[in-house]
Amino acid sequence: MSSELPVLKASDFASDQDIRWCPGCGDYSILAQMKKMLPDLGLPQEQIVFISGIGCSSRFPYYMNTYGMHSIHGRAPAFATGLRVTRPDLKVFVITGDGDSLSIGGNHFIHMLRRNVDVTMVLFNNRIYGLTKGQYSPTSPEGQVTKSTPMGSVDHPLNPISVALGAEAGFIARSVDSNIKHLAATLYRAAQHRGTSLVEVYQNCNVFNDGAFSYAQDKATRADTTLELEHGKPMIFGKNRDKGVRLNGLRPEVVDLSTGISHDDLLFHDEQADTALVHILAKMRHPEMPEPIGVFRDVEKGIFEDQVRGQLNTAVEKKGAGDLVKLFASGETWDVE
């Protein structure tokens, strides 16, 4: 089959619409990497659907030459669920932001993850409300001064990875808008996963929250401030790959590898680990620890629409295909002449 398909290029996935994000916005990079990655999936444009909520990120579907729906605030997971259940032949992406999916859409976010609908969700996290011009978001750090928090935010921020783990998501990853190779590779892996896959992308809002993730974005610092997770490999980071992470009791700590500590003493990343380790990774935050990027978790589990449709098929096997004439004539009936 796939050999018959024309080979698509990134530009084939670009719609004819002008892109209206602010110059310098991190969204451009995510859009570019998405378009670059999609041909690798081997799917024609018509089988792909992008569904978004509301926010800067959620204009994304308009810029893709695929099917798409720009829906209402926070509810994209629900639209995607209805579409996937009825059309399991389609590849569905959900595009959302930190405000869209963690604030107004928090409910739908956790429920799509726990149901494990086969959808790839890209969460653009810029720790601010962009489209409404600069209020704090559920991921804004405590104390952040914004238009709606002149004395600093008093909300404790939400960690999307921790929430996703709490919802027992099967695939959880994180990447950074400016780390384009890593981003493309992570999006590809997420899109390949069967079940809900979540990719949190650190995305810079250069207008309202510039530099929120500069430590992870800057080429000069990111090797020391982030930790690229690799399945089965020890957790090593740093420009000179001279630092590692090991466990001290239940606490992770950074160790200097030049002092004779061997790789075997370090934590090894296991994407399938169903243990507290992945929660420990989720809680590793800059500046105390390097922040993990890459795939936190990749496990297979029952997929919602497979099970829903499986029940429909089982019902037909057990009872035969439904017949309305028989149904109406069933039970207690009587004839009037």
Partner: protein, 633 residues
């Protein structure tokens, strides 16, 4: 059908032939009154009577036993003629305890039959019902034919040999009461015996006990003098065909399934439980082998959004709720208007506002459905008039939704939803198919325009998976034709008007409004939705009494039928009875500049025929109220 039960209807006692009976069964919410009522309804329908029912139960699952708050009732009217309401005043009341007696007695007609379980009138029962004295020992009882039956003791005796616990034995008491009622009205016990066998097939002792209790109740009626005469209600003359009983929510579910079948679509149903709509979900869940795909969503918003997602994918999409849930769905309904996809939104109305009266009926969501969204967001609205009519309404709504590419609202209410009536089984093969086309080719040169218009102003329903027709929909205003995002002021106004015109165009395809009664005259009663039965019956009685009255019952609330204004102009007065504060009346006044008079009731209860008749007489019997009273009453 063969039977192993004794032939029950050949009573040795005096049998009086009557044209119809209204009976209410009332007891504690754990007493099985709804079950009893349903059985009596089915049996009466099987006997060929026309029936109408009104279940009335508390919102609490189990209010404290024996208290007034816990009283559950089921009213049924069965008759030898067509009936459209469960009846006004009761010919008979069965009260299983003092609380049931005092909360229902006022509806029993003078001289009516009152059957009580006298074992349930001990001091503790009276205290639970907040009574200081035993009502059975007071002089008012002379106004009725009171039958004090020791139902609890008789039931215990009837099932004594089976070794059940006292509690289990007492749970058979409703079947003893049922047996008495069946004797009283010459009802056949076969269908209920089959029901007991099926329901308790895994509990042989319980099955046996309930059968014995039922037979013992019947035998009690036959052998004692306590109940006196029994009654016979002849078969009603209904149009020929195969019949079954159907409840409103069930009829809606079956109508949706039929609409899916007629349009060769899979039915996707996204819902969140809410009284009194949940039974639609329960019903549809049973039919997975019919290709009915149900999702119980995390909330009302997700339910409608999932449905819209399914509609985008090309399925028949439905969501149901009641007023409070619809309030949550409002934003997504606006999106459905904007992206112009077919979708059915069903509102089974209950008492409001907010949580209101969850188990009681009201018609107060009409304006919510018409206007409860931001911006100019017109949606067609249809209202079902009776349990059986829910079936046809569902099919018509889906026809409109697909023909015009619009979300469509169906209004039902708690009264229709839980009520039952005989339903003539339709011939599906004779129904018109609902043809739906999904485009596969460009429609504008070498482009696809997702917002191109057909003669109905409907846009093409191109679905994902179709090569070359990729397009994006969304809540931002779209450029006419291309569907690209547009902030152009003239385009916005044009699109607002186009969406409104599209809904208005539906008036071209719906049938002209009919009137029951004279073509012109003194008074037109204009009603909608679940008040049909009471309004129809009251107007018919008034017409029989020689009053110049006609009845016009609306199904199409938006748009109104094209000839409605013309109809309204032919009558001197227009009366609009509604179970709200005057919502249709407001629309009629606004749309047609007609000085319509409202008759409004907001008690969580349906109209009685007599109160409507009084109002009609007050307005139309200008010459002689006596005529009205003597002939119509």
């Amino acid at each position: 059908m063969s039977t192993d039960t004794p032939p029950p209807v050949q009573s040795n006692k005096l049998v009086e032939v009557v044209s119809g009976i209204t009976v209410r069964l009332a007891g504690d919410s754990g007493d099985g009154m709804q079950l009893l009522g349903t059985q009596l309804t089915n049996t009466s329908a099987l006997a060929g009577n026309d029936v109408a029912t009104f279940p009335d139960f508390p919102a609490e699952i189990r209010a404290p036993r024996g208290t007034r708050a816990g009283v559950s009732g089921f009213q049924v009217q069965f008759a030898a003629h067509e009936v459209h309401t469960p009846g006004d005043t009761l010919d008979a009341l069965v009260a299983m305890n003092p609380a049931a007696l005092v909360t229902n007695l006022s509806d029993l007609r003078p001289g009516g039959l009152l059957i009580v379980d006298e074992d349930s009138f001990e001091a503790k029962d009276l205290k639970l019902a907040n009574l200081s004295t035993n009502p059975l020992e007071e002089p008012w009882t002379e106004n009725y034919r009171l039958a004090k039956v020791p139902m609890t003791k008789l039931t215990r005796t009837a099932v004594a040999e089976l070794g059940l616990s006292m509690k289990e034995a007492d749970r058979c008491r409703n079947f003893f009461a049922m047996g008495m009622v069946y004797w009283l009205y010459g009802r056949d016990m076969d269908a209920t015996m089959r029901f007991i066998k099926a329901k308790f097939s895994r509990l042989p002792e319980v099955q046996e006990a309930n059968e014995r209790a039922l037979k013992a109740g019947w035998a009690f009626g036959e052998t004692t003098e306590l109940l006196g005469t029994s009654y016979q209600v002849e078969k009603a003359e209904l149009p020929p065909g195969k019949y079954r009983n159907i409840m409103g929510n069930q009829a809606l579910a079956w109508g949706l399934m039929t609409a899916a079948n007629l349009s060769k679509k899979e039915l996707f149903y996204g819902s969140y439980p809410i009284t009194p709509a949940s039974d639609i979900l329960h019903e549809l869940c049973k039919f997975k082998n019919y290709g009915v795909c149900t999702v119980q969503a995390e909330d009302e918003i997700a339910a409608v959004c999932a449905a819209i997602g399914a509609a985008y994918g090309g399925s028949m999409a439905v969501t149901t709720s009641s007023g409070p849930g619809i309030a949550l769905k409002a934003e997504a309904m606006g999106l459905a208007v904007m992206i112009e996809l077919p979708l059915l939104v069903i509102n089974v109305q209950r008492g409001g506002p907010s949580t209101g009266l969850p188990t009681k009926t009201e018609q107060a969501d009409l304006l919510q459905m018409l206007h409860g969204r931001n911006g100019e967001a017109p949606i067609p609205v249809l209202a079902a008039q009776s349990p059986g009519d829910c079936f046809d309404t569902a099919i018509e709504a889906w026809r409109i939704a697909t023909q015009f590419m619009v979300p469509v609202v169906i209004l039902s209410d708690g009264y229709i939803a839980n009520g039952a009536e005989p339903w003539r089984v339709p011939d599906i093969a004779a129904m018109d198919p609902i043809s739906i086309e999904h485009p596969t080719e460009f429609n504008h040169g070498d482009e696809f325009w997702p917002y191109a218009r057909d003669r109905n102003l409907a846009r093409p329903w191109a679905i994902p998976g179709t090569p070359n027709l990729m397009h994006r929909v969304g809540g931002l205003e779209k450029q006419d034709g291309t569907g690209n995002v547009s902030y152009d002021p003239d385009n916005h106004e044009k699109m607002v008007k186009t969406r409104a015109q599209k809904v208005a165009n539906i008036a071209r395809v719906i049938p002209p409004q009919k009137v029951n009664g004279p073509e012109s005259g003194e008074l037109l009663v204009l009603s909608w939705g679940g008040t049909y039965g009471a309004c129809h019956t009251a107007v018919t009685k008034a017409m029989d009494a020689g009053l110049s009255v006609a009845h016009c019952h609306l199904r199409h609330m938006n748009p109104f039928p094209a000839n409605l204004g013309e109809i309204l102009s032919r009558y001197e007065q227009v009366l609009v009875p509604e179970l709200n504060m005057g919502q249709l009346r407001m629309l009629i006044r606004d749309r047609f500049l007609v000085d319509a008079i409202g008759y409004n009731k907001v008690q969580g209860k349906p109209f009685s025929v007599s109160e409507l008749l009084d109002k009609i007489c007050e307005m139309a019997a200008t010459e002689s109220n006596k005529l009205c009273e003597s002939k119509a009453g």
